[in-house]
């Protein structure tokens, strides 16, 4: 493998990892801060992609689809938190699993009614349509590079909010000790709602951003949900930094696994997860290591 090919595969792995991070960061926030296991995370990823397709089909604008899809998902997240999820905070995980399982069924059925079950594709914005010639035959779509940049910016934004803002301080305090935070009179429960809605919006955003390079189809969230859980467990539950490291590790392992060990590529990421958990049972950045 020459240096250029290696660099391209490295880029493939990084780009895959960054998308994984975007989706998994929402899952780890909801899991770490609300203590709620949200199995429907993958369903929101799919819903985001379908919303993007739907809005883009009507308006012809990917940017509108991006903004509209995130806004709709965020409002949906607020509503779901108010109606269902807040009752689940502090309950045992089985109840949460059942609720989010039910949400998967409902979201799937709603998707079926509103959008059907056909496979769709979404056009990227015109100014990102081109591609860069890498070798005599291989070129790299500009959109994929833009996707990397957007994911990096979003990652920086998430870190900034959590580490540098008052909201982030409350979030971190709540994740550390929920009861003490409440006892100090901090409006932690109100913050919960925004964290949940934000998590949902991040899942949907992942689906929207991926829709131009992926395709929009009914089962697209299933694989993403499992990978997101692997990322969350690998990085340590509730740790955004852990999710970032975990996602990049999985993206690179998967990409190079497919190239060097094609026969084992499907199990490599799980071997990686098992190895890391043996070494650090609470994940890379998890509490209590």
């Amino acid at each position: 493998m020459d240096a250029l090919t290696f660099a391209v595969q490295l880029l493939n792995g990084l780009q895959y990892g960054l998308v994984l991070f975007l989706v998994a960061s929402g899952l780890t926030l909801v899991f770490g801060i609300l203590g709620v296991i949200n199995l429907a995370h993958g369903a929101f990823y799919m819903l985001g992609a379908y919303l993007a397709w739907w809005i883009a089909a009507y308006t012809g604008s990917f940017m509108l689809a991006l903004i509209g899809g995130v806004a709709i998902s965020f409002v949906l997240g607020l509503l779901l938190e108010e109606i269902f999820v807040k009752r689940m905070i502090g309950r045992d995980h089985l109840a949460q699993v059942l609720l989010s399982f039910g949400l998967i069924l409902v979201i799937d059925e709603v998707r079926q009614i509103l959008f059907g079950k056909d496979v769709h594709s979404v056009a990227p914005p015109a100014w990102l349509k081109g591609s860069i010639q890498l070798t005599d035959i291989l070129s790299y779509p500009v959109y994929r590079i833009a996707l990397c940049v957007v994911c990096l910016v979003l990652a920086a934004l998430i870190f900034f909010v959590i580490q540098r803002t008052r909201l982030g301080m409350i979030i971190r305090a709540g994740a550390e000790n929920r009861d003490m935070t409440r006892a100090l009179g901090i409006p932690f429960d109100k913050v919960n709602r925004y964290v949940f809605a934000g998590g949902i919006a991040l899942a949907a955003l992942g689906g929207i951003l991926v829709s131009p390079i992926s395709t929009v189809f009914p089962g697209m969230g299933d694989g993403m949900l499992i990978l997101s859980f692997v990322v969350v467990v690998l990085g340590g539950i509730g740790s955004v930094a852990g999710a970032a490291i975990g996602a990049l590790m999985i993206g690179l392992t998967d990409t190079f696994g497919k190239v060097f060990f094609p026969q084992f590529s499907s199990i490599l990421i799980y071997v990686l997860m098992a190895g890391i958990l043996l070494w650090r049972p609470n994940g890379l950045m998890g509490k209590g290591n």
Binding site: M1, D2, T5, V8, Q9, N12, G13, Q15, Y16, G42, A43, M46, F101, I104, L105, I107, D108, E109, Q112, K117, D118, V119, H120, S121, S131, Q133, T135, D136, I137, L138, S139, Y140, P141, Y143, R144, I213, S214, T215, F217, P218, G219, M220, G221, D222, G223, L225, D254, T255, F256, K258, V259, P262, S265, S266
Partner: protein
């Protein structure tokens, strides 16, 4: 996961309805005992097809196609009235044996028509062999069904995985390609299709330099596409279907590979997926036992009638259902509708020559169709006929001991 579950929710409702229907028919049979083989009694055809889930549209088209044929014969096949029973197999192999046993045992159907999913079809084949029930497979291409698992009472009106891919070997060799890479999902259908292509390609002197595969149903192709760019084969042969087919074709074009390394594939790569693939599918060449513009009289009539009946444009799945009806018609016609002479029915079905919308259709000793395989190219948003890649292609039916 979610897809599986959502179709599960409709199982209860549907199976409840079916169960009730079963009770009603059982009760009426009890009250008016009539000999099952009497000329007047309708022949009972059980559809075991996916009416929900990913393949629901395929199941409906097969069902509609079959019913269209029966309607054209005035509600009969070979002069015998036909009665239908439906079971939704949901493309779930784990419930396939139960569903099949229900049709054979409780509903006492004479013929089962099904299904789309190969795993489900294999479970059906086993039951059909054990109970000597007539089975007509209207889609599933798994080689074994008309290979090691073949039986006189098992027919297929679709294709075998081997059959639709083997002729592509010669097509690509004749196009000047000598070193080819293949790519598919690592599962039975993918490996049978790619294997058959490799067989055909090596036979005429070509070399398969690498078989690339990724786990089913993963769609992260980027690493393997980069790998193809470094391998620099003369061409690539691919098999994917549904969402995976759309994404692969788009990714391949987005990487610019379609300009330097032509992409070929099994017909499923571009069947029903062209609207979502858009421009990236243009010029893609695939092989299948049907094309969108065959333009023979049988095809024109079929497409017009299908449109009139359902309002939808017929496709290969509808044709396969339609031909399942035609095949049974041939069998029943020979015995004037007397199902008790089933050995004669089977013999006539094996010898049937059908003027199918896909072209001439006959059957080999294993019950697999002998048919033309067409080379198609994506133009104007559809799979247009280029040439006949293989005339009257016959699956070798390896492992079949029925003849």
């Amino acid at each position: 996961m979610s897809r599986m579950i959502s179709s599960g929710s409709s199982l209860n409702r549907r199976s409840l309805l079916l169960g009730t229907a079963g009770l009603v028919t059982a009760a009426s049979a009890f009250r008016f005992p009539t000999p099952a083989i009497a000329q007047g009694a309708p022949l009972k055809v059980g559809f075991m097809l996916p009416y929900s889930g990913t393949f629901a549209k395929l199941g409906k088209f097969i069902d509609d196609g079959f019913r269209l044929y029966v309607e054209q014969q005035g509600g009969t096949l070979g002069g015998r009235r036909i009665e239908f029973v439906q079971v939704d197999d949901e493309s779930k192999p784990e419930t396939a044996t139960d569903n099949m046993n229900r049709l054979v045992g409780r509903e006492k159907v004479d013929v089962v028509v099904g299904t789309v999913h190969s795993g489900v079809a294999m479970a059906m084949v086993k039951v059909a062999r054990d109970t000597n029930t007539m089975l007509v497979i209207p889609n599933a291409g798994v080689n074994e069904a008309t290979g090691p698992m073949c039986a006189p009472n098992i027919f297929r009106t679709s294709f075998s995985n081997w059959q639709v891919c083997e002729p592509m070997g010669k097509v690509m060799f004749d196009a000047g390609h000598r070193k080819v890479a293949t790519i598919t999902w690592r599962y039975a259908a993918g490996q049978q299709m790619v294997g058959a292509f490799g067989e055909g390609f090596k036979k005429v002197g070509g070399t398969v330099i690498e078989d690339l595969a990724l786990p089913f149903p993963e769609v992260e192709f980027q690493a393997l596409i980069t790998r193809i760019a470094t391998l620099k084969p003369d061409a690539v042969f691919a098999f994917f279907a549904g969402g995976g087919a759309v994404k692969f074709v788009k990714d391949y074009a987005a990487a610019g590979l379609n300009k330097a390394i032509p992409l070929y594939g099994a017909g499923f790569l571009t069947d029903g997926t062209i609207p979502a693939q858009g421009e990236s599918a243009n010029g893609l060449r695939t092989t299948l036992h049907y094309a969108d513009d065959l333009d023979n009289p049988a095809d024109r009539k079929f497409l017009a009638d299908f449109k009139a009946k359902t309002g939808a444009d017929g496709d290969i799945y509808a044709v396969q259902g339609y031909d399942a009806g035609a095949l049974l018609h041939e069998g029943l016609k020979a015995v004037k509708g007397d199902w008790s002479a089933r050995n004669d029915v089977v013999r006539s079905m094996r010898a049937a020559r059908i003027d199918s919308p896909r072209g001439p259709l006959s059957f080999n000793a294993a019950g697999n169709p002998i048919q033309n395989i067409y080379l198609r190219e994506v133009r104007n948003g559809r799979n247009e006929l280029v040439s006949i890649a293989g005339q009257a292609v016959n699956d070798p039916a390896r492992g079949c001991r029925v003849s």
